[in-house]
Amino acid sequence: MSLIVSLAAGAQNGVHAIAPSLASADNPIADFSDTPWWLSLIKALLVFVFLLINTLLVIWFERRVIGRMQQRPGPNRTGPFGLLQTLADGLKLAFKEDLTPKNADKVVFLLAPMIAGAMAFISFSIIPMGPVVSMFGHRTPLQLTDTPVAVLLVLAVAGVGVYGIIMAGWSSGSTYPLLGGLRSTAQVISYEIAMGLSLVAVFLYSGSMSTSQIVASQKSLWFIIPAFFSFLVYVVTMVGETNRLPFDLAEGEGELTGGFHTEYSSMKFAMFFLGEYVNMFTVSALATTMFLGGWQAPPGIAAINDGMFNQGWWGLLWFVIKLWSFMFFFVWLRGSLPRVRYDQFMRFGWKFLIPVTLLWVVSVAFIRGAQLAFFGESTRTATVIVVGVISLIALAAAWLWEGQHEAAAVPAERPEEIDPFAGGYPVPPMPGQRLREPSQQAERSLAGSTGHPELSDQEESRG
């Protein structure tokens, strides 16, 4: 707990350092004045190429890393290290028969994958991937475009992307996709709220919703430190938002087969697949931009040789490294965590993430108010007092909550030793429990069933 207090205090000092660098303009800091329309077009194509190549790579990367985590090789036959596996899978999908079920609503059935596929790319157009570079004789930022409300655009596009899911689920005319689509939609919109709210703290610090401006205001301190709680909430919501494990409830195979895309095949299915992976890149890129300083070099490296590594194409390197760290994080989660239950997932979103993030926004607003001299001229003292009061309230709340839980938690009665086959099917032991000795079981089954020698053999081999 004292860690949080010291973190907050550290954040405090840092925030003082960045306060002067806050520009007074809301407008994007990225300067597109030397970017003719044809260069914008080239950059747009490059964004598509970047995303498609990265998608091809990340699917291979995911399967290889998951393979390693599960102690098996993963795809390693197609091309060097199996690198062409995704390409081969994509080609295979193009050669598959595309079926539209008889019950389906034909138009909506076609529109849904189009929305899911096309919407995924839009958000990347406002992500700053690097500083100003020279391209075909023009000085242009490594960013397709920027608007004063760029982050709002990302959230809006995420909202429109949900239509792809709900339309796919509804138009299939089948029970599993309908249920999967509804579930998935409820999940995505629920976590979208917490995601949007977690970003408010960043806007409070940066004073702008333009992505280039947000990156610029992280010059001396990345927002992951002053807005550390927002970062944690964002990371949870971005996994929920992209339907990834442990939150991939839409495709609980045991319950819903494939979820909303059960009836899709061939290229239409590929569009959903592509959309999902591009969305992973989008949310990771947004996390990089909002919390990890965007394309800026990590502290330390940034100081080398008068900021040499913060110029030109170097920015793209740092951006890609940060982006792929998030990709690894996604894969790591998938390799480590089991799927959560749907009611637990929704309860966590609505009863914990949303109210706590709202309170966090109020706290950050008060901290910002103290820094902006709302409570008097001595901003430093006011800020320390506000941070202290907020930390105390948070501590008290945590203490109360923990006390409540301790009172509520009644240790369940558990026998020391269990017979794993007592109920007719195998049951794993709880932590601390012993399994009954297999030799006893074998004796019992021998004594009980004289006419079934193979059964007792099985019992033996289980032990």
Partner: protein
């Protein structure tokens, strides 16, 4: 908050004609949407050229894990999803109010009053959420 200066996107040429030198951000975003749609159309075209098409009645039935489908696909579902959609609208609108405020809080003439007002606004929302939770809307089972 000063009004955002609309950047001048046009430039006069020697002939006195106005030509577009720089693209408005939203036009660029629109272009990306169109490119995305084009990607989808191209994918569909590739599929049309490459994939076989030989539907049979069995293939076109809905998938229910191998058994014959029972009943209509558009089944009745829990009304709770509808309530979540309502709650979503409430909080999405709330976010729309919070975002602009967050970007202008640095302005000195807002001061304590805006902090208190936002605190009350968020408090009211939290009371609403608590009410929804108390009435069992957020309980899934």
């Amino acid at each position: 908050m000063s009004a955002c200066a609309e950047p001048d996107l046009r430039e006069e040429t020697d002939l006195g004609l106005v030509r577009l030198t720089r693209v408005s951000p939203y036009l660029t975003v629109g272009g990306v949407v169109l490119t995305g749609v084009f990607l989808f159309v191209a994918g569909m075209g590739a599929r049309r050229l490459l994939a076989p098409y030989a539907p049979t009645a069995m293939k076109l039935t809905t998938y229910e894990c191998g058994v014959d489908p029972v009943g209509d696909g558009w089944a009745q579902t829990n009304v709770r999803y509808f309530l979540y959609a309502f709650l979503y609208v409430v909080f999405a609108v709330d976010a729309v109010y919070l975002f602009p405020w967050a970007t202008v809080i640095r302005s000195a003439d807002l001061g304590m009053a805006s902090l208190a007002e936002m605190g009350i606004f968020i408090g009211v929302l939290l009371v609403g959420l608590a009410h929804a939770a108390r009435r069992g809307l957020l309980r899934w089972v």
